[in-house]
Symmetry: C2
Subunit: 250 residues, 2 copies
DNA sequence: CGTAGAATTGAGACTCGTCAAGAAGCGTGG
DNA sequence: CCACGCTTCTTGACGAGTCTCAATTCTACG
């Protein structure tokens, strides 16, 4: 519900994504596409929708398009040799998904909620980038951002206590969702406990237990299995930094 | 020693980096800079050297330049609030380091060995990118590559057994170093046990113990604390996949 | 050659993974 | 609308693996 009270109704103005400046001093919150750039992209993009649980693309498929999320949440995962899934990230409105390597997707994406996206054909991308020099700066900025996301993910995993990982995870989701207009302190968890566990590197049972512990400490509260509210930030921070990750002095 | 028998002597032909194609079917091993592009970069780049242990740049500094490693190895880390270090990656010849956000570096870099790099002033980058449309494709490719590296890092951390993490770590280093002309099966570890532990998410003691165990199994051997050889790849693989990471079905 | 830091090794505590059972939620179909 | 069944989630008990603390050995550098 509260996921996109952002002023961005579906028939809206075309693809949209932004990211902090890379080299410049960043004279503002973020670089954004110009109106012309958006219009150009809108000309080649189409709107597609997926229901909860549907697959958007799969690992190894030919990368026919790049997607720009308008509404909803998506999980990106990679299939391990033993058929299990490793969650590499969760994606939100304005995110760009479907980056490829050598023309093939390198992971799979599935809708966690109903999702609306702009689908931008891959064939059109490269040539358009040449014509619109500003665009690739956007893309570079976006990639840098994704890179930091991945490093943040690694940071979760480097924590050893389950409660610390989940605390950071909740903080990340809250920041994301606050940016989408959700009420502060409220976090929506559309993904399963298994997905959370796979992302932060613990078992689904440990997810349950640690959520319960955090709630017991008064740091968070559940109105529903999928809706958490952050009650006491100090206690949450405390849980995150208690007996931190191993080593690291040198 | 064996780190750069690659045909790339220091007075060489200027900055050099390559990465797999992103969207195209990738008609080859990698996109590389054209001779003109390298010449152009050489015109604005200078060569700098650092001794083992010296700091190349630090988190929060103004991002004055981008660096391209010619020779040597570098560690990138982030300082945690409690003054400890979290290793975010190890970098090798041809890697690009010093990406920034809003004009500030987002992590610190330190030489693990004697290092030679091209220093490319940040001020010159943006304008040059506009003049040379091919360059940003390079950069985009590079970023995608780094992104996958970070995801690979996350993958280490998602493994729970220490031996598995170290096995993957050794494989990663071997691949890197083989590309630099090192003899196959030989891995050089210029970083401390603490650095390794911080990177793969275990304590330095666990690094010691697990290396010993891997050696005991006959998977690897040490000629020296810093020089490992991979003796039995099958056994190494075995150690990596024994009782994999937790959960992940859904 | 001596000292400071790194690496190794050992012993004990604690967390989390695994296995297993029960509860709760969701969708389907009557 | 309710009943049914399946999946997901929660909770418990046990065991394995790693962290911590601490002592010892090794290495590198002055």
């Amino acid at each position: 519900m509260a996921l996109n009270s952002l002023d961005r109704s579906l028939p809206g103005g075309g693809p949209y994504f932004s990211a902090p400046a890379v080299w410049g001093p960043g004279g503002g919150p973020g670089q954004v596409l110009t109106a012309e750039e958006r219009a150009m992209l809108a000309g080649i993009a189409t709107i597609v929708r997926f229901r909860k649980g549907e697959s958007i693309y799969e690992d190894g498929d030919d990368a026919s398009a790049l997607f720009n999320i308008v509404t909803g949440m998506v999980k990106a995962y990679r299939l391990l040799p033993d058929q299990r899934k490793h969650i590499v990230g969760f994606l939100f409105p304005n995110d760009l998904i479907g980056l490829a390597e050598n023309g093939k997707y390198v992971n799979s994406a599935e809708a966690l909620t109903a999702v609306t996206l702009y689908k931008i054909p891959a064939a059109a991308i490269e040539s358009r980038l040449r014509l619109h020099p500003g665009l690739d700066f956007q893309l570079i900025g976006k990639l840098c951002h994704d890179l930091r996301d991945a490093q943040g993910h690694a940071f979760f995993l480097s924590k050893h206590r389950a409660a610390a990982k989940l605390g950071l995870f909740l903080q990340m989701l809250e920041i994301q969702q606050a940016g989408q207009g959700a009420s502060a302190g409220e976090v929506f968890l559309p993904m399963s406990r298994s997905d959370v566990g796979s992302y932060v590197g613990i078992s689904s049972e440990a997810v349950s237990r640690s959520f319960r512990d955090l709630a017991g400490r008064g740091a968070i509260g559940f109105s529903d299995r999928r809706h958490v509210q952050i009650i006491d930030r100090a206690r949450l921070e405390e849980a995150i930094s208690e007996s931190d990750s191993p080593v690291a002095n040198t």
